[in-house]
Structure formats: structure tokens, C-alpha cells
Symmetry: C2
């Protein structure tokens, strides 16, 4: 066990060094960067395509897409005309800061105000790897259930924003989801987190998220 | 990188040794064992509580619950009067065969026909760790989207059964989910997989899964 912990520490340190480089580059260029983390299928890409489309003319967004396989998500982003770089991890369960450093060099940063990193769909592992971002955004779909902050506390305790997505599904009555429980459990872990209830599909609640994002980006540039 | 790969191999080998021990124990005792894997909130625990309740008198089920934190899932299982052992991984993203070996020793195996292991909610990492089970069951909720077999191929290629869950939500019209696409993409990875469309909530389609399970368990005992 001693060896395992030691090596884990070394891997994290190498990652942290790359993360520091990314953070330095982003700060130097005046770019705001958010790292989006969620389970598979919580709606990260849909939130991004809606955010890009609705903030056209107000905020220029570039995206680094992390997926184990396929270019599907980068293609969805590019359909909005935003620049996107796809990273395929080929089995790995999270993005590393070194991969993000490579991707940042591919993006046309001069034409971008905010860089979103869409991490691999995984509510656990990505929370342990800093990528040099300004903050983490955790997305939780109401279909996943209201017990998730209690069961997966790490990412909820580290995030700057929680987006509770797919709230349009609550109207159908087929889902038991206590929004207050999620808010209470999350704020118990993280007093300062911003929580927005949204539906990327219908647009419900998205204005609040857009306003927060515009203000957060302004402070950086 | 060389060192990293080497250590990864060693960890897998130690895990495989424990998995072999678990498999031997289960075979010796004539127990059938399934390892359930999915994203957080796909409905693994709900499928188990419904399966236990509806097969009462036909099949005695015991459960090993894997979670990062909390006893919530084991409590839900125990409410059905089935025996359940909770493993808290304290941050780790998957169950190990050593943890399952410990849990098997806690279960009253004499009173059990089928052991379900409910893995940590994670569509990526648990697929790489054999626990000594007879087969893996992957659960995909329709709310997660129909692109998941393409984007997360490992678990779909290794599973014996795919349960497409929460199909009752399709009736509301608020979800775009092409069941045929999921079946085609999954069978491209895994010709022999059994696929059942179910709703643990309404009971729709669950009979087919129950029948498959009863037959699979019979072959072992």
C-alpha cells in the first residue's frame, strides 16, 4: 500500500504541475476556464450548445471535449460554429492537465473569451484531477436521483456551480426528485456553491446560468 | 509511463487472484453471481428491490452494495428483507475483488441463491475489475441518451445483459432516445448480449428479465 500511495502522489504532482502551467497560460491570456463534470448523459454537451448559441455576440466560447471514444460531442459543438478540440482518452476515466495543455494549444484563444472543458462522463474520478481551470461545474440530471450529493460528495464539495438539469422532466410526474434535498445536501458540503435549476432542452432557468457566466467571465478578462 | 503501466498490471493481477478465489467459492457453494454496473442514478438499486420483491418464493437474493459513501442503498435493499452488505469505498471509483471477498464472508450464503454485486455508480472504471462474478449486467437509463454504447464501449462489450431502464419516461415525449440505435451499437460490440427494455418503476418489461435470471441461476445450482 505504501508504494501505491507514493505513486499516486507522484502522478497527482505531475498533473498539478501541468495544471499550474495551464492556469498560468489562461491567466496571461485573460481567459476564463470552467471544467464541467457529471455522470454520462446528464446533459453537459446540450448545456454547452445552448449556452454557446444563446450567448452569441455576448461571449465567445471554445470547448475542449473529453471522451473515451468518438468525436460525437465535438461535432455537436462545431455545429454551433464554436471551436472545439476533441480528446479521446482511449479508456481512461478522466482528463489530465497534460491533455488539456495540448488542447489549449490547438484552440484559437484570440477568438475566445471562455474555455469550457467537458470532462469524461464520470461523477467520481475527474474530481481528483485539477486541469488548471478557474472553477468546476457539476451537472446533475433530475433523472439521476436526489441522493447523489450524499453518495458522491467529492465533486459537489469542490464545484463552483451546480446545474440541476432536465427539470422539464419533473412535470411528467414519472420522477421522484426532491430539489430541496439536493440543495441542502450540497450546501452542507459547500456553502459557497451557486445552484441553478435548468433545462437545456426547454431553456427553462438557463437565463440565470448565462448571467452568472457572463459576470464570472468579466471578472477575468 | 513504463512504471505506471507495470504497477497497473500488478494491481490487476492481485485483483484477478482475489477474483479467482471469489469465483471458486461461489462455484463450490453453487451460487450465481452478477455484477451490476452503470452510471450513478440509472436505477440499479430500484431494479434490485423490484427483482427481490417479485421473485420472493422463487429465488433468494443477497446483495453486496458498493458505494463511495453512505449506507443508503443497503438500507433500501434491507427494507425488502433481503440480506445486504454495504461496502464504502471512501473515494475509490470501483469495487475490488478483495472487498467482495470480505463481503461474501458476511452474507448468509446458505440462504441465498443469487448474489448481486451493485458496483459504484461509474460507467467506466468498474468494467476493468473482475470480481469473480458469473456475468456483468450493465444498466442504461433512457435519460442518459442513446449514444452511450458508442461513447463507453468497454462495459457494453463485456456484459452478459443490458437493461435499458426507465422506459416509462419515453411516453412523456421529453426524451430523445432511439432504442434501436442502442441495440445496434451494443450488438456490434457484443453479439451475445441479452437486452431487456424495462421500467423498475412501473414494472414494464421486468417479467422478461426475471425469467432470464431464474433460468440463468438454475444452470448454476
Amino acid at each position: 500500500m505504501g508504494k501505491k500511495i507514493q505513486l499516486g502522489t507522484k502522478i497527482l504532482s505531475a498533473n498539478e504541475e501541468y495544471a499550474r502551467q495551464n492556469s498560468g497560460l489562461l491567466r496571461e491570456r485573460g481567459k476564463y476556464c470552467l471544467n464541467m463534470i457529471s455522470s454520462p448523459g446528464s446533459g453537459k454537451t446540450s448545456i454547452l450548445t445552448q449556452t454557446i448559441t444563446n450567448l452569441k455576440g455576448k461571449l465567445r466560447i471554445g470547448v475542449i471535449e473529453g471522451d473515451i471514444q468518438t468525436q460525437l460531442d465535438a461535432e455537436r459543438i462545431r455545429a454551433t460554429n464554436a471551436p472545439a478540440v476533441q480528446i479521446n482518452t482511449n479508456g481512461s476515466c478522466h482528463l489530465s492537465a497534460a491533455q488539456v495543455r495540448w488542447a489549449l494549444a490547438q484552440l484559437p484563444l484570440d477568438e475566445i473569451d471562455v474555455v469550457f472543458v467537458e470532462n469524461v462522463g464520470n461523477l467520481v474520478c475527474p474530481s481528483a484531477f485539477d486541469l488548471g481551470e478557474d472553477g468546476k461545474v457539476v451537472v446533475l440530471s433530475v433523472a439521476e436521483g436526489d441522493d447523489k450529493p450524499a453518495k458522491y460528495p467529492a465533486i459537489f464539495s469542490k464545484s463552483r456551480v451546480l446545474l440541476i438539469n432536465k427539470i422539464d422532466l419533473l412535470a411528467s410526474g414519472g420522477i421522484d426528485f426532491d430539489t430541496d434535498r439536493v440543495k441542502t445536501d450540497t450546501r452542507r458540503l459547500n456553502r459557497d456553491i451557486e445552484i441553478f435549476c435548468v433545462s437545456a432542452r426547454t431553456g427553462q432557468g438557463m437565463e440565470n446560468w448565462y448571467n452568472w457566466l457572463i459576470n464570472a467571465a468579466k471578472k477575468t478578462s
